[in-house]
Symmetry: C2
């Protein structure tokens, strides 16, 4: 055991590796970082020393000089409780994790619930501990994108940001599911089934995903009937309320496109309670393809599937690319295709 090894509280340093290998710290460093330009003899010596000592680089020291953390922050503004209750959250994280692991980067999870959290997160980002940021559930009032921009921290947003001008802001790179296209898919499917009086239950209209899904519906009904549109809130209870409303307004409806599976399950419940058969009398299509709901309604739910994990992966890839090549022009936003999963309800 060498002198310098014991000095750092047991953990070997590059210095001790170099000493054991009989080379300089610089050479040891070269080997640890790929070994380019080091003779094979020395390289092997160093590698043996590394193995023997169980040397692991101290990243704090490395970060201090390279100014690279090999870590990215994932900021989730939580008040959108939906993000939490649905399995989306876990799937996103899994996608991010996989992509990050492949690039040997770490994920720092930052959950924001209130104003103070945003401040704390701002400070953290300013502290320079992450090389980039992934942002979810953006609100207009969310200060994080601005903070990141000011700090020169690359970031990628999950879901289309909704405030005015966001769309045209080239700095706002986002990844989103094709909500609008998915909605069109759903409605087209209902039409192909011969349905003509197709209603829709929307999500809360201050969220872009709701708006886009409604827009997709409207694409097929340019001169649509407002009575066939009811506003929900993505929850099953909201679906119940909206369906009840629709049923009184338009008892003749023969299909419903609900902008979430939870709302669809609520709607089905109401329909059956009202004596309508699903799908015979009223066909129902949902959105999300949440396994625990879609596979468990009676009848099983026809719905629009979105690739949540892929979304996480893509966001991460976009961000990493940007980190590795800061000079490159900002990548453009990406829309991930959605697909229809036909089961029994339509």
């Amino acid at each position: 055991m060498t002198e310098s090894e014991t000095a750092t509280g047991g953990r070997p340093t590059l210095e001790s590796v170099a000493e054991l290998a009989g080379v300089s710290r610089a050479t040891a460093s070269r080997v640890v970082n790929g070994g380019a330009g080091v003779r094979a003899v020395l390289r092997e010596k160093v590698e043996r020393a590394v193995a023997e000592l169980g040397y692991v680089p101290n990243l704090a020291a490395r970060t201090l000089v390279t100014r690279r953390n090999r870590a990215i922050g994932v900021v989730v503004a939580e008040p959108e409780a939906r993000f939490f209750s649905d399995p989306f959250f876990a799937q996103h994280l899994r996608g991010i994790s996989r992509e990050l692991a492949a690039a040997d980067n770490q994920m720092v999870l930052l959950l924001a619930e209130d104003e103070r959290d945003h401040e704390r997160i701002g400070r953290y980002l300013a502290g320079g501990h992450v090389d980039g940021v992934l942002l979810f559930s953006l609100h207009r009032s969310d200060p994080t994108p601005e903070t990141a921009q000011r700090l020169g921290l690359p970031f990628v947003i999950g879901g289309r940001p909704g405030w005015p001008g966001a769309e045209s802001d080239r700095d706002l790179v986002y990844v989103d599911n094709d909500n609008r296209g998915g909605a069109r898919l759903a409605v087209q499917h209902l039409r192909s089934l011969g349905r003509t009086r197709i209603a829709t239950i929307t999500g809360p209209l201050d969220q872009t995903s709701s708006i886009d899904r409604l827009d997709g519906y409207r694409d097929l009904f340019p001169h649509g009937d407002g009575d066939l549109i009811a506003v929900g809130d993505f929850t099953a209870d909201g679906g119940i309320r909206a369906m009840t409303e629709l049923l009184t307004r338009r008892p003749d409806l023969d299909a419903v496109f609900a902008a979430s599976d939870a709302m669809a399950s609520g709607a089905i419940r109401v329909l059956r309670a009202a004596g309508r058969r699903v799908p015979e009398d009223v066909a129902v299509v949902g959105f999300d393809d949440v396994e625990s709901i879609a596979a468990w309604t009676e009848p099983r739910l026809t719905t629009v599937r979105q690739e949540i994990e892929e979304m996480g992966r893509l966001m991460t890839r976009l961000l990493l690319r940007r980190l590795n090549d800061p000079e490159a022009s900002a990548p453009s936003s990406v829309i991930i295709p959605t697909g229809l999963v036909v089961r029994e309800s339509a």
Copy 2:
């Protein structure tokens, strides 16, 4: 703008703060870290300089000398896919996040899927980037606890570890829900309803939560009938299979305690399909109190509630306490009480 400020790529350093305030770096550092032992005049000068420059300490540098990261790792071994699909994951993280935020610590999320991930995580932990570790979904084969122990990294486990000897290992601090007590609660409730032929559907018996829930059931039937016990897998499909099995073995059963809400929902489906009324003919109690299931079965599910978020918080608090006072004796493990939520199914 001072010389040293521009040197670091725009971000002000302690040096530049000191310069602007007209004090030494040491004094500036003191102020930034609480300001004890600094005259008010100087303190204010420094504080103004900090505000003016927008100074934020570089944690890499700080970590390098203090050997404290103000970050903890959360390691989730994912193969237990349940952790991901259920809302548990998000709730745990939220609890952890809240507690960590209060202590101004960060959370590094480490998801493990395969062998390589465990290696990567081992390396990461060895890198000394986190001060402690929270471990979930522990398998016997999981090398992480051992790694942490070897590295002297304090850790706290979520859920009772199951391998032989784990229980008596004083170093293995864990936090768990009172699975056994919750199961007893459920069965007692069924008994109080006058039910006598109470069956149970267990989870996979290689998980301690399953075992503990089964043990709770057995506590009330010391000489129980093996025919009344069916092994499930925590999923709704598993519940269907197990219930079908139970119904053929013991058509006379009048109550079922399912070790998860998902299994309970499957069981209810089978029971109704078999013409049994719930709860009149067969009373059903679940476990978990997963909102999206328990509130949506028909009839609504009576179930055992567990405080997931509290579990995350508690684990975090235990870990932080340990970090702040490494000399203190290892805290003992904690069991969080569960409670019965009576709805309609029993």
